[in-house]
Symmetry: C2
Subunit: 179 residues, 2 copies
DNA sequence: TGGTTCATGTAAGGGGTTACATGATTCG
DNA sequence: CGAATCATGTAACCCCTTACATGAACCA
């Protein structure tokens, strides 16, 4: 059982999903491709941590709706209670480029930051749009008992971090100076 | 040439380093183990992007001091000018645990957040201590022309992000409610 | 006296990406 | 009329971690 497996289980606690849906939902905190997710779901099913129902469709490929089992929920719960690894991973080639920014001209450096800023703003808007959909979905997402609660917390975290990085860019660009 | 190779080159632009040093310096933006770094340095040397000088030591193992070549600097410069990949990667099992936080009791949830907070504060203190060392090292790190400039920007970014996550925790914990 | 720092390397195996494969529907 | 969406899967390969290997100096 790797970490991603628990990520999939944590999604399925909220509601049954297809592998396709999981791939998209997972992007909030753990990016993974479908080619990794489908085999993992098959493994979880062999281990009886999830079950699936085959749903035939016309015009679209058939889909498998996965549901978490009691055994799966138990496995997830005990994993959550384990102490989390303190080291977490960030890999972002933009940061390497910033590190060696002195190698390129000021105009190119400004462009690097501006493009980053635009990409971050776009992600921020998409996130905020998704958050609004969630608010309509259920009455009280801010409630610990709500199944949306965890997702709601993570949205807020990401929004805060995106805004922080944007304000870092606003702070940094004047330091690069006039082109 | 993978992304990590460029990360190594970007470090070597600032000053010659040993593999051991690079492993530590790299933690600011790209976590990698020495077992990955040493073979990569050997590869970069074969490709004439870096050279090394063997320095014999007594009481400690001999070390290899790597220096970037002109060809290496050229390769790095053109990579920086390429458009960066928009997708960046975050993998943090704490986030999965938050997502499924409803599965565990409020007391355990509070503990999860508190331990995270402590770990973040420790990292923040270590970072701020490192930043002070850097300030003494050179006169004007805030200067685009300074070789410390890129590193300085990344420190500031990380400090901001750490503080933002800490304030997110302060916002989130009252929502969990009374234990 | 036991843990940390310095210092470099190899081997095995798991984790993750890219590419291949298929195909109807819907939107701009 | 081309691109995106829905939908699942396999194979090859690279990236990265864990474990093995060695050993003196220094600090608590």
């Amino acid at each position: 059982m790797n970490t991603l497996s628990y990520g999939l289980l944590s999604m399925l606690v909220r509601k049954p999903c297809t592998g396709y849906e999981l791939t998209k939902l997972l992007r909030l905190f753990w990016q993974a491709k479908h080619s990794q997710i489908y085999p993992l779901l098959a493994m979880l099913e062999r281990e009886n941590l999830v079950t699936f129902e085959l749903i035939g469709q016309t015009g679209k490929p058939d889909k498998k709706l996965y549901t978490i089992t009691e055994s799966g929920e138990g496995a997830l719960r005990s994993w959550i209670l384990e102490a989390p690894a303190t080291e977490n991973l960030e890999r972002d080639e933009f940061l390497i480029k910033v590190y060696a920014v002195g190698l390129i001209g000021k105009a190119e450096a400004m462009q690097l930051f501006q493009e980053r800023s635009e990409a971050l703003q776009e992600r921020l808007h998409r996130l905020e749009a998704e958050m609004e959909l969630m608010n309509m979905d259920e009455v009280r997402v801010t409630d610990y008992a709500s199944k949306q609660f965890g997702r709601f917390l993570l949205y807020r975290r990401k929004v805060g971090l995106l805004k922080e990085e944007l304000s870092w860019i606003d702070w940094a660009t004047p330091l690069i100076g006039r082109v």
